[in-house]
Amino acid sequence: VCIHRVRSCSSIRFIKSKYVCVFDKSALKFSHQQRLFRTSPVSCGQIVQFKLSDIGEGITEVTVKEWYVKEGDSVSQFDSICEVQSDKASVTITSRYDGIIRKLHYSIDDIAFVGKPLVDIEIDASKGVAPEEDVVETPPMSHEEHTHQEIKGHKTLATPAVRRLAMENNIKLSEVVGTGKDNRILKEDILNYLAKQTGAILPPSPKAEMVSPVRRTEAVPAAPKDKAHKIPVPVSRPIAFSGKDKTEPVTGFQKAMVKTMSAALKIPHFGYSDEVDLTQLVQLREELKPLAEIRGVKLSFMPFFIKAASLGLLQYPILNASLDENCQNVTYKASHNIGVAMDTEQGLIVPNVKNVQVCSVFDIAVELNRLQSLGSAGQLGTSDLTGGTFTLSNIGTIGGTYAKPVILPPEVAIGALGKIQVLPRFNGKGEVFKAKIMNVSWSADHRIIDGATMARFSNLWKSYLESPASMLLDLK
């Protein structure tokens, strides 16, 4: 006698109506495991009061400190239920049953008593079978194999409920790939294994199945039955992917970025890019690096870029300005507080070097070192992060050539620096030489900055960096 049982799997959201009609209501009487199809677990199991077991050392009461489950959650045997504390000992209480949590007897900080009920768990009437309805439709096959499960090799992890399900369907656990914790075999794994076996029994899923790159099992082609159809329909799901979308609120650094960038939308950006030949600067830095090290400071290229920018801003002060909310007034800022975009573990942060117009390249290097170490320690203060008037973003340390940076309000301009590449260029004599080239991409507020201004500023900045000696002439 073949018993038809309705299958519902947690990953299938609906079952086609014609499928359900196959299901003869009279068959309900035959199997005690029959249930009407519903989307929530049906309450027809037995409620067991799981008592708090003996902690040891004669302890009779503990304080409940944290719940790992809530009412309605399903638990497997050995899953953690809660954390309790007694006299400097923290105890993890694990479940003895598979089932659904129906009641928590205590709230956080309540005193719980040894020997008294801790939680109520609803377990199935037929012990060992999982309470969610997932009974499988098997094609009428005669199974000569005995039902005793042989487990090859090392011990396979699976809860008793899962083992029983496997046994009922004549599945060898050793052949199933476990996707749970510690490669534990879950109900879903058994069902997916069955799907492979029975092929077209599963109604085609409306969503395309994702193939997980990590769990690579044997790729299962479409079941042989499909060969009869004229149009090959990809039916099988070779690899079990049990990932779920995760939604989290936007907080912290991300929230800050959302706010800043949303405000930046109001600014009509235009871009201007160029390449800078840093061959001479690279050499200069090599000479100066050991000198800076003696003074205990790490010298990168940024101090030069920052100082050159400040010298440029002296000639084109509109780039160091701020437009008010109503676009009525432009404020030319006296201080050149040049921001440096920094990538930290938590996200993007932009501290600024104050008053670059009166700082030497070395002063800037010292300050950058300070900001960098504070930034990586997560200890930058509000004064470091506010008051910026112009920003440089050295994305080239990570990579890239051209970029389209977003202006950080209330500023009106920003520059993104690409990586330094060694490229062939022609010199004055028409010879090819190895040049150290870096690309710069500027963005500016087109309400008050025009292309010509940006271009001239960029040319000036570029000339300072291409022949660093010229910076000496204009240094204040």
Binding site: S90, T92, G252, A256, A263
Partner: protein, 372 residues
């Protein structure tokens, strides 16, 4: 002595509780191991790993470890309540939350940590502490040390030299304790004093005690001598060789999964986020121009994040739009100075550029951040 044999052995990481991989000593009823690392997170991860993976039925384990300066709070404690977080950050002292209960301790290289791993059934703290006392007395018979009912070890009947905590799981358990040999008492007392007032919480409070180093009692004692003496006593009581196996907590082959445990212990979500719900109710005294403003602040913090935030400012001191933006930003955000600084700096970008406003804003925000 460094382990040699493990490289030749197969280790099946996917199998929980393998009856001992062959490099752990199988013949005896006990094993003594010592960490080569002084990183508190790595060492706590080792404890966690042994608790989860080792079968302690046939052999018990004694784990010896020391840490570079760190403050370690109990599983259910509140770091704001237990220590001076600003001082910790300034001095680069790490903050860790362990998985066992109990109170807050300060670790440095002058403090030794001992963890006794047993099965859940054989969990027994008093015996372990008496073992330590016996070892100390064997080393220096004149030492006046004894174990109290609270599982502390006292020197000269008044100074605490050891504190205890424990963790119990389904089948295994561990009891660990500290032992003050030559720790920096000055730093200890200053970091373990919280300047916080107005904090209401159900977190486990620490019980402060006067402490003393064993070194002060007998200057010839060193941490090595103490470790050795305790290992010797453990070996005698468990009838095993007095042999200490060194382990490297960074060795993923030896301890598969250890690096993810180490990482987890360092996450903000674990260290701060596991703080039981608490509320802050305080008054900021902000000197502004010629007067001092008293601003009442009330915040509820759950999972380390601000659930509710109320700042009682004088009317119109800040434009109402900006005030509500501030409250909205803070709500749901971490009770963390770094994150709050980033948020308030951002809000300043998008508000009217007015020097007066900026200075008020900075003043308020600086004070708020100081609370975290």
């Amino acid at each position: 002595m460094v382990l040699q044999s493990f490289k030749n052995c197969l280790w099946l990481p996917c199998v929980l509780r393998t009856p001992k991989a062959c490099f752990w000593s199988t013949a005896s009823g006990g094993l003594i191991i010592q960490s080569v690392s002084n990183d508190v997170y790595q060492n706590l991860a080792v404890e966690d790993w042994i608790h989860d993976h080792m079968d302690l039925e046939k052999q018990q384990i004694l784990f010896l470890w020391r840490n570079s300066p760190a403050v370690v709070i109990g599983r259910h404690q509140n770091p704001w309540q237990e220590c001076n977080l600003r001082l910790l950050r300034q001095r680069n002292i790490k903050l860790a939350r362990r998985k066992s209960g109990g109170g807050t301790v300060y670790h440095d290289l002058g403090n030794i940590n001992l963890t006794f791993f047993t099965t859940r059934k054989k969990y027994e703290r008093m015996g372990n502490l008496k073992l330590i006392v016996k070892a100390l007395k064997a080393l220096r018979p004149q030492l006046d040390v004894h174990v109290t009912d609270r599982f502390d070890i006292l020197l000269d009947k008044q100074y605490k030299i050891s504190g205890t905590a424990a963790k119990l799981g389904r089948t295994s358990a561990y009891h660990h304790c500290t032992l003050l040999c030559n720790a920096d008492k000055f730093v200890l007392s200053s970091v373990l004093k919280s300047p916080y007032k107005g904090l209401k919480s159900n977190a486990t409070p620490s019980v402060p005690a006067s402490v003393k180093n064993l070194f002060e009692e007998d200057a010839s004692l060193t941490t090595e001598m103490l470790l050795d003496a305790i290992a010797k006593e453990y070996a005698v009581q468990h009838q095993i060789d007095h042999h200490i196996t060194l382990i490297n907590p960074a060795d993923e082959t030896l301890l598969p999964g250890i690096s993810s445990k180490t990482k987890e212990l360092q996450t903000w979500e674990w260290v701060y986020g596991k703080t039981p719900k608490f509320s802050v109710s305080t008054c900021l005294n902000m000197p502004y121009k010629d007067s001092v403003l008293d601003v009442k602040v009330n915040m509820d913090v759950k999972h380390g994040r601000i659930e509710v935030c109320n700042i009682d400012l004088p009317e119109q001191w800040l434009p109402p739009g900006l005030y509500s933006e501030l409250v909205k930003s803070l709500t749901g955000s971490k009770f963390c100075p770094n994150e709050t600084t980033a948020l308030v700096a951002t809000l300043l970008r998008v508000c009217p550029q007015d020097n007066e406003l900026h200075s008020r804003w900075s003043l308020l925000c600086e004070n708020m951040i100081r609370l975290m």
